[in-house]
Amino acid sequence: MSAEPAITPELVAKHGLTPDEYERIKTILKREPNFTELGIFSVMWSEHCSYKNSKNELRKFPTTGERVLVKAGEENAGVIDIGDGWAIAFKMESHNHPSAVEPFQGAATGVGGIIRDIFTMGARPVFSLNSLRFGPITGDGASVKTNRRLFAGVVAGISHYGNCIGIPTIGGEVYFDESYNGNPLVNVFNLGILKHEQIARGAAKGVGNPVFYVGAETGRDGLAGAAFASRDLTEESKEDRPAVQVGDPFREKLLLEACLELLATDAVAGIQDMGAAGLTCSTCETASRGGTGVEIDLAKVPQRETGMTPYETMLSESQERMLIIVKKGHEQTVVDIFEKWDLPYAEVGVVNDDGMMRVRDHGKIVVEIPARQLADEAPLYSREAKAKPTPPQLDLAKLPATDNHAALLALLSHPSIASKNWVYRQYDHTVRAGTMTLPGSDAAVFLVREANKILAATSDCNALYCSLDPRQGARIAIAEAARNLACSGATPVAVTDNLNFGNPHNPENFWQLRECVEGLAEGCNAFDTPVTGGNVSLYNQSPAGAIDPTPTVGMVGLIEEEKHVTTSYFKAPGDAILLIGGFGDELGASHFLTVVHGQKVGPVPALDFAKERAMHDGLRALIKSRLIKSAHDLSEGGLAVALAESSLTHPNPPAQPLGAVIELGDTGLRLDQLLFNETQGRVVISVKPTDVATVLMLLELRGIVAKKIGTVGGDLLKITVGGETLAWPLSELKSAWYDSIAHAMHA
């Protein structure tokens, strides 16, 4: 084994540590660190592990509530009570940087990582969502080809991992925009179910308890991936491919079953997955949480390569591994279960009482760091924030009139709005026999049979809004998520978020982060949905610049009864179509302006939380009274797109077509403004013709604006406004909408 390199200022800088941070390390250790210790501090104090640039902002989120059993930041994932002794653990996490350089494995291991976070809590993972963003996939040019390759690779990676492990991927979102050229976003969400008494903790409790390593052997893959994720992407980033891990969903499936089998016994004192920063993170974090120390010997760690140095072993991010603190005397239980599942396991160390993370290599001490200071006392920074100049605003008088017939087709065929069937048909979305609402509706709805609970979940973020007005964009992301849940018949209970931003050392980027966090916090307070955890991904920038700020919201809700489950598509000819929330008039920041006019201009639509929430409550009340046959929120593309989607998305359509005949009267608006504006707080519903009067009256009693605008049926979407009539055959709409992504990918 070659001698370890000497610690020089250059080596310190190469590890992403500042001179001040290095001084702090020396103060903690009361000496110079060795090479392995330097590497350990480097990953633990990276943004990815320590949130050093964002923690002061994250403290603004509401994190408490009567349903919160495990708070954000306490463990690998938050835990929420859903009644009758049952709870859910859920979280969203990013794998943006790995996916940019190696899309298939980057995305696959993202899925693997988030699933481990959930079963580490003692929960059985029951479904996944994902929120993806790429540069444009239509048109010509090298970047378009790259974007297609990244998109295809990411979807294949998610499909590979999720399908093999047998956890359904039941919803999510995909957007395409220039700002993600070269820097795709891959945010993955998983949710698991558990009984209250099954909550597992990641603490090294009980001095003298043995520490077990279980799961895949450690290799050199994913070396210092957390540090890699905490840098800008550059032309040279592909040389960081060794920092991307390689996933094995089969191994993880075995690990999942073995761990849940073990957690059902009384043998486990603490458990922690080895994700970012691998063995390093799991040992120091369990010791810090337990108020103890942990000592391991690397010679006992199962390894798939020979000659690995302590530096490599400690910093490897090999997948599908867990650290388990076993109650003394219960070692044989671990051995029996991991033998049964043919998984490697080894007793590698012991819990001690001196607060140190001590690593030996064949007995010789190679690392000795106070665990708490390493895990929890990374330096925190409040970066300089500088507001971006106000973006250009729409001048409606100067906006040329366009062909509105063509405009709807252009919007429906835009990959951000078009059907995502090319994506979700590659995901197994029906395994575990609980998917009540198929992908493509406003929210995913899943029946957890063992608990007899119906959950709804959605992920939302309009990054165009966030780029034009970060605070308002974030507020709307929460409101839209809550609206999607309301349309599905659900009451929101909690939120996980994934904050994707550019380099925080740029004051404008940091300002965007701060504005978005404060906007999300306002939204979470307004809807009583505490944040239970999530992930921060900074440094999302390629040589072309930073991404649009993208604070992805994952929101989970509960549906009380099966008969409250509501879907977005029209059900039967003859049903009346109602618009809740008025015609609206805000065309600023709309997809219509972006897609049809090539303009990204403000203002972002207004939002009134009280009004929005009153509308959701009113909608849920109608759903509970069984008066609603379909409900679909208006978002990108406004009223016209929402009506077309309601006509097109029935998964098992009846023989008679579900077109719509719409009569809007004289609204005093420009036609494009009426059809495509994105004013918030609006929903299209369909009801039985005999229920129209009742529904309108009940809404009016709550002060909610609503109007009958048409009738379901026929093979056209026909909209009459004043004296003008627009009509689209459903077949024309469907071909624009359904196959658009497949056509782009096969171009």
């Binding site: 499909s159 399908n163 093999c164 492990i165 047998g166 094995d248 969903p249 089969f250 191994r251 499936k253 075995l254 049964k340 599942w341 043919d342 979700y424 048909r425 590659q426 995901y427 197994d428 979305h429 029906t430 395994v431 575990r432 026999a433 609980g434 998917t435 009540m436 198929l438 029946l447 049979r449 099966e562 998964p651 098992n652």
Partner: protein, 233 residues
């Protein structure tokens, strides 16, 4: 009666299959692949999933599992055996059913609700169905394209051993309705003795009207009727 659901490492539809049977009142056990006996079981199900990660070829390693000899004995004794998805692949690899399942024509994994047409009801698995009747059942596979040599296909057709075919919503077995490129739109076949059934669709995911389709129950109820657990109507 008693049913066994085999658990290979990487099986992931085992819990769904157990649930579907349990909800029909059938005592059902998981049987670990390292077991060697299926004594006392009337029905054996090989569930879907990715046995051994499907790393070599789907089902190619599972056929060497210790339990396989017991499965072959069970089938040879004329007892009912059903392989769903990966289970179908394993039955083909083990030689209990002819032909093979290869990569989908699209080269993509495909998951969707799929119409299949019942081609034959003179078997223990579909005797409550109607010949020509349509079922809507989820499929979810990357390697579901059924292939066999012409002589085998002739034999399967001639002996009424093609039990299910992929169709469109009105029951036409068109090429456009073929989700994976299977020969002659074949979705499920049985062995010559008609006691071993392999199918790509997942009936265990269509046993609850809350999930959008109840059509999978016809298969489970046919089996239970055959075994006398349910009384024929």
């Amino acid at each position: 009666m008693k049913a066994a659901v085999i658990r290979f490492p990487g099986s992931n539809c085992d819990q769904d299959a157990v649930l579907a049977l349990t909800e029909l009142g059938v005592p059902t056990d998981y049987v670990w692949h390292k077991e060697t006996s299926l004594e006392g079981y009337d029905l054996v199900i090989l569930p879907g999933g990715f046995s051994y990660g499907d790393y070599l070829r789907c089902g190619a390693i599972a056929r060497f599992s210790p339990i396989m000899k017991a499965i072959k004995d069970h089938a040879a004794a004329g007892k009912l055996t059903m392989g769903i998805c990966n289970g179908f692949q394993i039955l083909c690899e083990a030689g209990l059913l002819p032909g093979a399942l290869i990569r989908n024509r699209s080269l993509h994994f495909v998951c969707q609700h799929q119409h299949v047409r019942v081609e034959d009801i003179s078997n223990p698995f579909l005797n409550l169905g109607q010949t020509g009747g349509l079922l809507r059942i989820p499929i979810a596979h990357g390697e579901g394209s059924y292939t066999a040599d012409p002589a085998t296909l002739r034999e399967l057709n001639h002996k009424g051993r093609v039990l299910l075919r992929y169709t469109d919503a009105i029951g036409a077995a068109t090429d456009a309705a073929n989700p994976n490129g299977s020969a002659e739109n074949i979705a499920g076949i049985c062995n010559e003795a008609r006691n071993v059934f392999g199918l790509m669709p997942h009936p265990e995911r269509a046993c609850d009207p809350r999930l959008g389709s109840n059509d999978g129950r016809i298969i489970f109820e046919s089996i239970l009727t055959t075994l006398g657990f349910l009384k024929a109507a």
